[in-house]
Symmetry: C2
Subunit: 221 residues, 2 copies
DNA sequence: AACGATAAAATTATCGATAATTATATCGAT
DNA sequence: ATCGATATAATTATCGATAATTTTATCGTT
């Protein structure tokens, strides 16, 4: 189990979340408090609390007294999340524009470089984390902590979505990494309209290609 | 205690949330698990779970092993929330425009009428609920359930903010109720640019007036 | 008096068990 | 065989108590 996190509950929460995001616990999989507690050799309380948090994050579905099930990845929900993402991410980027320094662009370059590394070693999960870090940069810089929190919330679901779709539809991670360079270039050039065009396009690219593909959930019970 | 909600945890959660939003439990107030459990004559578990949820909602501050304290209402946070609100609410309203029917406008009128009633009986809390219902209408109609959830999340904090500021700065509830009529008129007329102007203005009106006023939190420990 | 170390008290985090609820299996009637 | 009723098992929700942690009080030293 993960050693980050102070309390047992946190550790269980983070460990389970990672497993769900990575798809090791697939949609539809039932999670039983006692089963997990026994497996980890701890009592039910912290497990219960961890499941409660996952519920709040929308990673688990559950009706009261009916237990917890790893949530489906519904096409409609991804669509909704991407609509929201487009809205807040462009807002964040625009807020950033006046304060962007050379050092910021360097940092973005560095993230891209790390993405290329992850791509070469075919480390899908590290790649996704870095991809999200790239975009998180603007939320952090924009200085609206409420929106930053919101980004961190939806990031969890986006990561889970990408963990599946990248493997299936975008095996060429290197080209995804390169997809970020035009963004940095545009930022460097400073033409706001062009920046907006490229960000909106970039954000929606994955989703646009997905739209036509088959349904996402597959595992049952 | 409140009878809504299936489980004890839920009941405690809703009851405490209401108390915090209404300001009966003021910012800085410490909440002790055992104290609450004894007062309600239940065990610690459901109380603990309720506090956990309030933490997640941002109504409580807490470090691990250090207990829970009713969160401050920080000016910066309200500012952030209103920036986010403007973004998503205008998005929701715009999404709605093509589908608005006469019956929808009637429904909005009805909510306004109820707001006037609440204003006349000087029921601040019911008034705030109705005010939020008015705006929730567009999120519900727009059909993006993720954004609707987001609205419900930030609504809690907005309500708490309004519960304080309305009493202090806007005692004339009737005029606030009337402030919604121009919105309905604009919707009826159908001029998108004008609708946008009026909504943006309306959303920010409270906040703009607040900005210059004194600090919000007052209660300590 | 101010400071730091130690002891006492308060509080949360975790535990293991019971009560309440829901899901599953069994069985007789049709 | 299918259905409904009943009993059984599985699982969550709640309980009361202990362990771990943090806060507060005490007290000697400077």
């Amino acid at each position: 189990m993960d050693e980050r996190g102070q309390t047992l509950s946190e550790q269980v929460h983070l460990a389970l979340r990672e497993s769900i995001v990575r798809g090791e616990l697939p949609p539809g999989r039932r999670l039983l408090v006692l089963e997990i507690a026994n497996a980890l050799e701890i009592s039910q309380a912290p497990v219960r609390e961890a499941l409660e948090r996952l519920k709040q994050e929308g990673l688990l579905d559950s009706k009261s007294n009916k237990g917890s099930v790893v949530a489906d990845i519904r096409k409609e929900e991804i669509e909704e999340i991407y609509a929201l993402r487009e809205l807040i991410e462009w807002h964040a980027v625009r807020q950033c524009l006046p304060m962007l320094r050379q050092s910021d662009l360097d940092e973005l370059d560095a993230i891209c470089e790390r993405m290329r590394n992850a791509a070469e070693s075919d480390d899908h999960f590290r790649f996704i984390d870095l991809d999200m870090d790239f975009h998180r940069f603007f939320f952090a810089k924009a200085g609206n902590r409420t929106i930053l929190q919101l980004w961190d919330q939806i990031t969890v679901k986006i990561k889970r979505f990408l963990a599946i779709t990248n493997k299936l539809y975008f095996p060429d991670l290197l080209s995804i990494a390169e997809g970020h360079s035009p963004l940095i270039e545009a930022l460097r050039a400073g033409d706001e309209a062009e920046i907006e065009r490229r960000f909106i396009r970039h954000i929606n690219e994955v989703w646009w290609r997905m739209d036509k593909s088959k349904d996402l959930q597959r595992t049952r019970r």
